[in-house]
Symmetry: D2
């Protein structure tokens, strides 16, 4: 399947782990036949702003630092206020991903933040849709959604490990999210009804 | 426009205010040409369970009591665990609404709960997409989204006022949400691509 | 150290895992020299309601089902509305714990719910105060706070494992929380200034 | 009552409204007999960092922009990571306040963010403890907690109104929060037991 759908990935990576996940999301988008545009938000260019504006979907990504997205992501988000007032991103599809050094806890708060940021912009939020990857009988670190996240996706990487050590399971989960976002965005843009809600 | 789209409204009403909002959501669904099925979850029947399973979208509604949805809604939600395990509601569209006696604060937490419940089920979340209804020059209690909610919608009604005194602005905002959910659901069900992500 | 401080533990346990954590919280309370009163909220008696009312602190506990506390806990919470209106629990210390089958994700939402429920009652919220228990060099499943939760504490237990298999690390983390809550409650009740804020 | 207690107010003000609230919080702190130290975080000095480190309590404040605290606050928060690793703020009392142009909704998310940031640092969170300020019979814009917020406090000011038009009710609610935080901090620092939990 190939579509005209474009999925932008607006992310900030502090030490490279988020960039690895952004690439996995992009691979998933491509697998679903859509075009992907990576946008590192701390060095965003006018062309990249235009790409966000033209995209059918935007996936947000940032590391979780002290319980929220990195400050660099927040600086980017705040600079979208003109677009918010003009409803420039209304009806686009959105989702999000994050990474931290620990298993649980406050990564959910970063995903909640992304979902509320998307709500402010009137975007539609796509969830991960994978059961938790555990099972007593097949216990494995290699399962999709090993962390049991639902609102988007996330990764856990020890803080003294480099980006190349992002777990394969977490990257594959990010890939799944990218493909899913692309398919929903393609469906929404494929019909005249869809444009009515944009 | 008429579509084959069906939007179920799964709600619990304690004193009637939520039921008024549910009706307004349903009117918005009908305005968008879709079919609406109201489901009071505290007296749900097998036929109504089947209607939820068959619906293209489900809008969740409950009053906010002490910072969350009413207990009756939570009892309903917990009883969907078999459907969760079978991924019965994956790919449906979801949104939510709530009401409380005060302007602000913890209604957002109820909407966050609805959005996470939807995420657990792999549903797609549709936001309100209305700027806050304030303006110094046109200050009015009658504006759409007068409370400035984004993740869904909500109402404020003094606790000693009856259901007939739900504000017109709040009811119209619920109407807007219903129409929007119906349009997104119709777009997602209109294409074969959509069924691929169901 | 022995104090006159009493810490109640208001919990619902579906399959026994939460009860194991409640016992660990209680052991921590005792270690700090305070008295502990376990209150299973689904079978709460008038005497146990009186114990909650008399306690210096209440720790809330429930499993996370489909992204929130179990419905039985919500039924209990809703039945505190009379106490809420009379501000019966104002100034008490509060915290919370939860358990689910997966590592991450939506357990935080249950803890957020507990913290907002406490806020509704005007209680003071005590956090876990433990760094995440990870470390690449000492990687272990036995570390305190192995899940990296901050707002309270939690456990992960495979869903087909019985209560006796709650991890020792998670139980010890719950013990830490109980001791911490008891010490803060003792400090707040030890001075006349404290009673001024009750 | 006079105490040795010090309450720092770490805030970012974009257009002056948050500064007005910060001053009201400080007035409440003074009313309770404690010392207050305002710290505008976007121009924080080494002396002000030292004041935060020495304070018994820190109240966080920022406007809500697009669903979260202003980016300037997030830049400040991220720069506390060294203090987080050293547990420099453990056992301090915390609370928060925010302001936005609309009544409801996403101000709660900013307060949730502040509470999770405090949890990361192992601080104790003090809630507002005021019933919502509504009443059908006495309906008034001048009531304490007119917005019905519980996790901290907040204000609503039309976006085209200047800081001098922050509502008196909102400022008095912020005053109440400051006094309450000061009293709890004083109680916690008044006893040797308290220092055990620091």
């Amino acid at each position: 399947m190939t579509t005209d759908t474009t999925v932008a990935i607006a992310y900030h990576s502090g030490y490279g782990h988020t960039a690895v996940l952004a690439e996995a999301v992009g691979d998933g988008v491509a697998e679903a036949g859509a075009r992907t545009v990576p946008v590192p938000v701390d060095t965003i260019t006018p062309e990249q702003w235009a790409a966000l504006d033209a995209a059918d979907a935007i996936v947000f990504g940032a590391p979780t630092y002290l319980g929220s997205a990195s400050a660099a992501f927040h600086v980017f988000a705040e600079s979208t206020s003109g677009r918010w007032a003009k409803r420039a991103w209304t009806g686009k599809v959105a989702s999000g991903f994050t990474v931290s050094g620990s298993m649980s806890g406050d990564k959910l708060h970063t995903l909640q933040y992304f979902s509320i940021f998307a709500a402010q912009h009137g975007m539609h939020w796509v969830n991960l849709d994978l059961l938790p990857g555990w099972s007593a009988s097949t216990a494995s670190e290699h399962d999709l959604n090993r962390l049991g996240i639902t609102l988007g996706t996330g990764a856990q990487t020890d803080t003294d490990r480099g980006p190349e050590e992002v777990s394969k399971a977490d990257a594959q989960t990010a890939f799944h999210l990218g493909a899913r976002v692309a398919r929903v965005a393609a469906a929404l843009t494929a019909t005249p009804v869809a444009s009515a809600v944009r």
